[in-house]
Amino acid sequence: MSKTVLTLKVQPNIPLEAELLSPDIIAPLGNQEIAALPVILGKRQKRLDDFFHIEGDGSETLEIHGDLGRVKWIGRGMTRGNILVHGNAGMHLGAYMKGGSIEVGGNASDWVGGEMKGGSIHIRGNAGGQLGAAYRGSLSGMKGGTILVEGTAGIEVGMRMRRGVIAVRGRVKDFAGLQMKGGTIVLMSGAEIRTGAWMVRGTIISLEPLKLMPTFEFACAYNPVFMGIYAKSLSSKGFNIPYKMANGCYRRFQGDSSVPGKGEILVWNPNQ
């Protein structure tokens, strides 16, 4: 399969906005056309090849090498194809994306998959805050798709999300699932405080004990049937969550009663 390989040759000293780094845009273009694509450095318009060495013609697979920690909006609104970033990625990675996949070898910054509708994002390192979140003022965050993070993540993971799955292997910071309206967040290593604050609906699964808001109440301890289905789907991606009675059970908390909401937080309680 052919691929397009970009290698960062000049490190931008201020943020570089490069929303055209998306298979939808690049696939139909030849090498020279890709080189001439506009990117924005601060307030100035530049060419893509001012910063990147570009190999190959356009294709459905975009491979990017280098520390792109200051490169924003990679894969914005993409609907198909793959982006592989061998290095770090800047803010708004895969924001508004509808399909395709993005994989980042290093760390990603804030707003990964902001308001995404479909597709999948996999971060091997740590992610910043606002994973799959709603942009300020919007009523809904992500409405579909999957975000997987192998490292840690920041605040407001899945803020106002409506559908889709977010799974984080490392610990996440405050306000995971803030004002969540649906979908699932899986916290493999727990979270800091205010998890599920003001949630309306949706499911947060934590494999570690959580410090809950006083507006969540214990409902029951059980092993929901759907957990088996979740577990199978997530285990194919390397995220193993327990679901068998023999190993323990989930303590179900319901809230946030301040809304009042019908969200659920399921905290794994292994057999001692």
Binding site: Y135, R136, G137, S138, L139
Partner: protein, 550 residues
Amino acid sequence: MAGNSKLRITGARVYDPANGINGEIKDICICDGKIVADIEGGRTINATGMVVFPGGVDVHTHVAGAALNFARGMLPEDHRQNDPFVRTRNLRCGISGATPTSFVTGYLYAGLGYTTVNEAAVPILTARHTHEELRDTPIVDKSTCVLMANNEILMELLEAGEYERGRDVVAWNIWAAKAYGVKAVNPGGVAGWKWGKDCKGLNEIVPGFNKITPRQIIAGLANIVDDLGLPHPVHLHCNNLGAPGNVSTTLEIMKILENNRAHLAHLQYHAYGGDDWFNMCSASAKIAEEFNKRKNLTTDAGAVLFGNTVTITADGPWQHLLYKLTGKKWGNIDVENETGCGVVPYVYKEKNIVNAVQWAVGLELLLLIDDPWRVFLTTDHPNGAAFWRYPEIIHLLMNADFRREQIAKLAPEAIGRILLPELNREYTLFEIAIITSAGPARSLGLPHKGNLGVGSDGDVTVFSHTDDVAKMFAYPRYVIKGGEIIIEEGEMRNTVEGKGILSKPFYDPKVEDFLRPQFQQFYTVSFDNYPVEIERIEHPDIRPCKGVQS
């Protein structure tokens, strides 16, 4: 600012209803910013095959002020969804959508061929801020109406029967706010809202007061405005806005105003039958029938279009209800002793029965009121829809077939509750020129606006004449403001500053001796800091009043 160049527009069909000109081909000449009979030399625009209107006049819109600015801050998601205005060599950048930023507001209005707008709700206490925004709203001339119907000092005077002092207070406040007219919003109801209550019946005593009722406030203010001889009559937002069955209130108010001039704002929101949200229906026939008889009244449609917008009104209790109905966001600011304001983002949906009825009622009123000189095109921007969507309404008015196509998209349950499917009237270009320009200019009392007679302001809009009405009115070919060409070949090439239109009614200067101690007691700003300095008004144009002089 007045253009000192000469300009001739030749070859176009001219629609100048104020002068009885209905589509005649004639030249329009402008010299030094004013329409003249003829010129020699100067530039000529060949507008053969095009249509010429006097510059548009919006009688009721909310384009500046603390309330609108409060709404702007609440709607980042709306700002993101609309095409932004990118900075160019001669235009500033900004945001469009339901609450355009100040510069963009000027560009968008001029982009529709509008050259005069009336900001319909200004609290005196924040008038200084409204004028700051209006200074940064280019191209269009701007008048304002000051909010008086819940002013507690005035209400106490009316309650005590001190009519003359009340009149002086109103006149003093108009000049203090550097306003042009008087707005009355939900008389008594906003004052009631200060206690979380409303004032639904016209004979109910206003909460917090001893005996004054909405009826007395309405009658008192209408008399005061007429006695002061303000160019524009009292600009009234009736009680019970938006409520099913409010038709009875509106009819009753028309009766109260029998012997006065009055402008009833956004009539669509006041023409509902039924008695709850489940059986709400159009009462436009009753309203139009009564309105047609009462030649002392003018009104504007306050039409609704489907889509996202934000509702902003001084009607606090209504906004709280709307917040509870939508469950989304709600903003509210009460202004001490004067008024209040609420902000609720809203989406009008075709499949929502209530919304479908509202959409139909706005159009029905425009079609059922027989005299176009008394009903004007508005959406109560941004409440019913953003003003830059006016061309969509013009399309609906001019084309009954298109209207029927749109009716077919409504929730089927709505059809039995509206009259619109039975109405076949189609507006002519002549009538459109009346409801978008000549009529509102006359109601506002601006003889130099809304017409192309000799001596009037050189505000002229040239449209291509095409069958695609919505497009024709959305993209004028030329817009001329005060003799300056703003839009040329559909492109904005130039901007100018607009004027501030004011009125200075007579008042006994001794009224300040009465007001000063009231201020010290009930306000939190010093009396001397309250009036807006005239220096803050951009190109002030003080219009004469014909009323009491001593």
